[in-house]
Structure formats: structure tokens, C-alpha cells
């Protein structure tokens, strides 16, 4: 009798133990697929790229030649690289500046919750939803030097045609214009949300305090949306640094390197010129830039959570 009871006790304990083992590994089972995918495809390649940047390789031969920091030395000595970097930075500054600035003006215009404003928001946001490839192809047509819509409109006002995508002085500006057109709807949307989050009573108190439109904007509206604006700037900067599609589709980095950017250069050296190590070095530069802004982003994110 006692033996049977003892056996039962052992069986129960074993069952509980196996249950608790199952219980213990359950969370790891749940996160494993996701973590594995992230590790293999998004963490490992970063380190691998650092590794590749120390070698010379043409992607085809079975061996790579270790060259240490030589790729970086060549890179920083190459004037084309500095032009590329400058292009990327100029592009970023203007796209973000015009996008957030213009987005703010549009947001101020559309902040009242009316049917018309809702409709307009949807219209302005539509370029953002469409594929970047579609946008690039469309604007390639619109900016066509001989038959495009833009030059047609200019001609209507008596202005001579502009070679939007072929003139070295203009091309980068054209790409900036296209990017702003695509993403200003997103900037405006975020800012409209921020503006609508400002309690109405503050504006009433301001009216009672004799604050005019400018004083109200400067002392109340702008300070209250500043955190969101800052956030938006960081997000937009990180997005702009990786510009590639419009260049690959429309200008191929030209004319004469005027629209070469970091990612396009990376692509060219890796796939067209078969200089994998050199390309990886360019990638590392991009990594540093993105990492810096990401750190700022996370710092601001944690501060915002703290504030609330």
C-alpha cells in the first residue's frame, strides 16, 4: 500500500518536473523563430560587413585577400567618396528641412478636424503609400527634358526648359523635390496628430492673456510639438541617409557623380565594379552615421517615456 502510494508520488513528481521543464522553455520556444531570423539576417550581416571591409574580394574567386584598413585608406583619399558623402548629407539636410518645415505649415493649415481637411490629408498622404519605384518612374516622365509635364508648364509661363535630370547643377535638387513630394504627407500627418493633441483650453487661456497668433504659436504651440518634431527629424534623417531607389532608377549616380549617394555607391562597388571589400568599407561609414542617429533616437525615446 505504502509502496503504491510512494510510486504514485514519484510519478506525480516526474510529471510535474517535466511540466516545469516544458514551462521553463516555453518562452524561449516562442521567441526562438523571431530571434533566429533577426540574428541571422539583421545582426550577423553587420559584423560580417565589418569583416568584409578588411579584405579585397571580387565576389567570384574562392579566396579573399586580407588588406587590413587599406580599403578605408583608399576610401578617404578618394575625392569621389567625399563628393558622394557630401551629396548624401546635402540631400538629407534639404529633404528633412523642407519636409518637416513644409509639413509643419501644411499641418497648421489642416489641423482642424473637418471633412475637407480629412480628405486633403488623404490626398497629400497618397504619394507616401505608393511604391517608390512607381514614384521614380512617374517623375522620370514628368521631368523629361523634351516632353515632360514640368517643362510644359514652365513653357506655358515663358520659361525655358530645364534639364531636370541631366544638368549637374539641378539633378540633386530634382531628387530632393521628388523625395519631399513623396514624404511630406507623412511629416504633415505626424505633426497634425501632435497639434491636435494640444488641449483646447490652453488656447482659450492664451486668448484671455491677450496672446496674438504669433505669440500663441511661439510660446504654446511650438514648444508643445517640439518633442514630436525632433523625433520626426531623426526618423527622417535616418530614412534619407539610405536613399537609393530614385537614383538607381532615374540618374544612376550621374551626371558626373552629382547624385551619387552612399548606398548607391555601395551598390555599384559591390555589384558593378566587384570590389566587395571597398563596398563594405562604404557600408561601414553608413553604419556609423545611422548608428549615431539611432542612439540619439533611443535616448530621446527613453526620455519621453520618463517624462510621461
Amino acid at each position: 500500500m505504502a509502496a503504491a502510494a510512494a510510486l504514485q508520488l514519484e510519478a506525480d513528481k516526474a510529471k510535474r518536473k517535466s511540466h516545469s521543464v516544458l514551462h521553463a522553455i516555453k518562452p524561449y520556444l516562442c521567441i526562438a523563430p523571431a530571434i533566429v531570423i533577426l540574428a541571422v539576417f539583421w545582426v550577423y550581416p553587420i559584423f560580417n560587413m565589418g569583416y568584409l571591409s578588411l579584405f579585397k574580394w571580387d565576389l567570384i574567386s574562392p579566396t579573399m585577400k586580407f588588406v587590413g584598413l587599406q580599403n578605408f585608406q583608399k576610401l578617404f583619399a578618394d575625392p569621389q567618396f567625399w563628393q558622394t558623402l557630401a551629396n548624401t548629407l546635402i540631400y538629407t539636410v534639404f529633404v528633412v528641412g523642407l519636409g518637416v518645415g513644409g509639413g509643419l505649415l501644411i499641418a497648421l493649415f489642416l489641423k482642424k478636424r473637418t471633412k475637407t481637411n480629412g480628405f486633403l490629408q488623404a490626398v497629400i498622404f497618397s504619394p507616401y503609400v505608393v511604391s517608390l519605384a512607381s514614384i521614380a518612374l512617374l517623375w522620370m516622365w514628368i521631368m523629361n527634358r523634351d516632353f515632360g509635364l514640368l517643362n510644359g508648364v514652365l513653357g506655358f509661363f515663358g520659361i525655358s526648359a530645364v534639364d531636370w535630370l541631366g544638368d549637374t547643377h539641378v539633378t540633386l535638387a530634382s531628387l530632393i523635390l521628388i523625395s519631399v513630394w513623396k514624404s511630406i504627407g507623412y511629416d504633415a500627418l505626424i505633426l497634425v496628430s501632435a497639434l491636435q493633441g494640444i488641449p483646447q483650453h490652453l488656447y482659450e487661456a492664451a486668448r484671455l492673456d491677450r496672446a496674438g497668433a504669433w505669440a500663441t504659436f511661439r510660446s504654446i504651440t511650438f514648444p508643445m510639438i517640439s518633442p514630436t518634431m525632433f523625433f520626426l527629424v531623426i526618423v527622417d534623417v535616418i530614412a534619407s541617409l539610405k536613399v537609393f531607389e530614385t537614383i538607381q532608377i532615374m540618374t544612376q549616380g550621374g551626371p558626373q557623380n552629382a547624385t551619387n549617394t552612399l548606398v548607391f555607391s555601395l551598390y555599384q562597388y559591390g555589384f558593378a565594379f566587384n570590389k566587395v571589400g571597398y563596398a563594405a568599407a562604404i557600408g561601414m561609414v553608413l553604419l556609423v552615421l545611422i548608428a549615431v542617429f539611432s542612439v540619439v533616437y533611443f535616448k530621446v525615446l527613453s526620455k519621453r517615456v520618463h517624462y510621461k
Binding site: P27, A34, F41, L52, A133, W139, M140, W141, F271
Partner: protein, 297 residues
């Protein structure tokens, strides 16, 4: 200085009667101004799409007119046939569908359990692993494509569907969003369900998933849009047409030796935009709200 209030009031009231009259008189100016800006915004942001459709219905000759005409004299619907036949359109379309659906399916399987585990379980390393997940949110495809191309090449997986699907089989952002939503489940509800004898699976299916419906739809919408629209990854990870998706396929139409046939290109472009535009037409409020969450987080 001592002042008789009635006198001061009277002066202020008089001033403002004048100001009010002026404001009323100028009200129509601001109304016209507002409508002018409204129309300008619609022109700037919608007209290019109109132009795309209009161009897609012109003849080759009409597209080469300068100054360009607003509308074709006769809509050339045959352009669409021309566009579809000038590239392996059906194959590209099929590839887009396969990749998008596969990504959505795989993400459901990887994201939901991970988000649930990060939200509801306590386990060693949870903080660190979630931190890693957060960090990978910031890693763009443009930084990892080169090493991954090398990796896939070594495994002879270039030009297979897997090279397009696997890296996106999960999404750190979606895990983050869903975990956030799961965190909002009141503990009392879970405890009450447990007291009622519900198994964990039942709790997930009956409590968590319905509560997270809005977030799930949002994540699915965002993933659908970004996967369908993706140009970069299918471009850099494929060397032939075997698994190329629609955006890459349509863009390849511009590389013709005889000069670009813009009427056909625009027709193809319209077809490329169409699925997204249709979804946008029906779900724009939801989509817009989905994107605004990214700014809110």
C-alpha cells in the same frame, strides 16, 4: 491712476465694434484664400497621378508632343495590353503575390508568439533579447544586403523565393507594436479567466487576440504595403527574372535601347500602383492611423 470703468469699457467696446466690422468684411478674403490653398494642394499631390493615367492612354506620338496635351484625343486602352506583353508581367505579378503572402504568413507565425512571450512571460535574458530586437528595428536593408547576398550566394539561394522571404519572415517593429498592445491586457481579466479554468491557449485565443485585433490589422496593412512596394530588396538580391517582383519588373522597362515608350511605361506604372491605390481608397483612414502610430510610439 484711477479710472471710471464704465468710461474705459465704453472706449474698448467702441474700438472692438470697429474691429469686428472689419473682420466680418474681410472674412471672405480668408475663405477664398483657404480654398485656393486647398485646390493648390490637390493639384500638387494628385495631379501627377492623373497625369500618369492620362499618359498611359496616349499614343506614342501624343506623348512626344510638346507642349504636352492634357488628355489623349482617344484613350488607347491597347497600351495596357502592350505593357503587359512587353515584359513577363504575369510572372512578376505572381512573384509579388507569392512573396507578399508568404511574408505575411510567416510573420504571423513568428511575431505573435514572440510578442506574447515578451509581454507575458518572465524569463532569463528577456530584457537583453528584447533590447536586441529593438536595436534591429533601426537596421536598414541597405546595410545588410551585401553580406546577405554573399551568404545567399554561398548557399546557392540567389534567385530563389527564400532569399526574398526569409529576411522578412519576422519584423522587429511588429513585435514591438504587438507586445505593446498585449501589455495593455488587464491582469485581473487573465486571473479571472484562469479561475474559470481556462487553458493558456484558450486565453490567448479568446482574450488576447480579439483585444489586439486593431493592432494586428495595422501591422498586416503596413507589412503588406511595404512588401508589395519593395523595390530595393528584389532588385539587389536577384540577378534574373525568376523571382523578380512587379516593382522591379516594371522599372526594368525603362532600359530599352530604342528609347523609352512612356505611354507603355505609364500604363505598366498604373497597373503597379493599382492594388495599393485600391486598398488605400477603401482603408485610407485605417492606413493613415496606422502610420501615425509610428510617430506616436
Amino acid at each position: 491712476m484711477v479710472f471710471d470703468n464704465a468710461q474705459a469699457n465704453a472706449k474698448v467696446a467702441l474700438d472692438f465694434e470697429g474691429i469686428a466690422r472689419r473682420r466680418a468684411a474681410l472674412a471672405w478674403v480668408s475663405r477664398i484664400g483657404r480654398w485656393a490653398v486647398n485646390i493648390l494642394l490637390v493639384l500638387v499631390f494628385f495631379f501627377p497621378f492623373f497625369w500618369m493615367v492620362s499618359s498611359s492612354l496616349k499614343t506614342l506620338g501624343e506623348t512626344m508632343q510638346f507642349p504636352p496635351t492634357l488628355l489623349p484625343s482617344e484613350p488607347q486602352w491597347s497600351n495596357y495590353d502592350g505593357a503587359i506583353s512587353s515584359i513577363p508581367f504575369g510572372k512578376y505579378l505572381l512573384n509579388s503575390v507569392i512573396v507578399t503572402l508568404a511574408v505575411l504568413a510567416l510573420q504571423t507565425v513568428t511575431v505573435v508568439p514572440a510578442a506574447y512571450a515578451f509581454s507575458q512571460y518572465r524569463f532569463r535574458g528577456r530584457g537583453l533579447l528584447f533590447g536586441v530586437t529593438l536595436v534591429t528595428m533601426m537596421v536598414p536593408a541597405q546595410l545588410v544586403f551585401l553580406p546577405l547576398f554573399v551568404l545567399f550566394a554561398k548557399m546557392q539561394m540567389i534567385n530563389t523565393y527564400w532569399s526574398l522571404i526569409l529576411p522578412f519572415a519576422t519584423s522587429a517593429f511588429n513585435i514591438f507594436m504587438l507586445r505593446q498592445t498585449f501589455n495593455q491586457m488587464p491582469v485581473e481579466l487573465i486571473e479571472a479567466a484562469r479561475l474559470d479554468g481556462a487553458s493558456e491557449f484558450k486565453i490567448i485565443v479568446r482574450l488576447f487576440l480579439p483585444m489586439a485585433k486593431a493592432t494586428l490589422v495595422t501591422c498586416a496593412l503596413l507589412t503588406f504595403i511595404s512588401t508589395w512596394n519593395d523595390y530595393f530588396w528584389p532588385l539587389v538580391l536577384t540577378t534574373n527574372d525568376a523571382v523578380r517582383t512587379l516593382p522591379v519588373g516594371v522599372a526594368s522597362m525603362r532600359a530599352s535601347e530604342s528609347g523609352i515608350n512612356y505611354h507603355l511605361l505609364m500604363a505598366a506604372n498604373v497597373l503597379l500602383c493599382l492594388p495599393i491605390m485600391v486598398v488605400y481608397l477603401f482603408a485610407n483612414k485605417h492606413i493613415i492611423k496606422a502610420f501615425s502610430y509610428i510617430g506616436d510610439k
